[in-house]
Symmetry: C2
Subunit: 116 residues, 2 copies
């Protein structure tokens, strides 16, 4: 069972109850994926993949978005040929209250400390 819309072009997403803490933490343990998550947290609307100026190839970027989607951290839906990305904040907050905010805060503190 997934939360994806029943379309041939819909992307597979875990249902809320299928999301696992270890998968979420693994998805967040990569600096580029954390960067994506921080930008999505700051955005109030869906963001296309091409919005992100990541220093990696397109296929590597696609891989990172897929890891985040398959872990249940983000949702990805097609709009035309572009993928719109958004954080699954409601699902994560329901399963793990406070976790996402503490990770985002930790990332901001580290960025402020290291300037990276």
């Amino acid at each position: 069972m997934t939360t994806a819309a029943p379309s041939a072009r819909a992307l597979a997403h875990p249902a809320r109850e299928e999301i696992r803490l270890e998968g979420v933490l693994h998805a967040l343990s990569d600096p580029l994926r954390m960067l994506i998550v921080c930008e999505l947290a700051a955005a109030q609307v869906g963001v296309t993949c091409s919005h992100f100026d990541l220093p990696v190839t397109k296929s590597t970027s696609t891989h990172h978005f897929r890891v985040l989607r398959e872990a249940g951290v983000i949702q990805q839906n097609y709009r035309g040929t572009a993928k719109l990305n958004g954080l699954r904040r409601d699902d994560l907050d329901a399963l793990f209250p406070g976790l996402l905010d503490s990770v985002l805060d930790a990332a901001a503190r580290q960025e402020a400390r290291l300037g990276a």
Copy 2:
């Protein structure tokens, strides 16, 4: 620079300022390592590796403890031939306030939900 004691048998630990969020999250993204961290959080004193009844070989267990130590999540110090393990709560709380508690809470919630 490390926080390890200047002994030939001392184990290398990252100094507080060397601890990175991505390394901490990666260390916590494995179920066995999370189990170790939860038990250490519940313990008020150092705990030997042999205390943990992990369903893996000794070398795999040693690997997991090393990942946690090198990420800055735990400290390991020899007492005789045994290693005493403890959470680096002060360091983690100073760097990433609230993160460890929210992860421990998330792990407890998932265990209660899945019974695993």
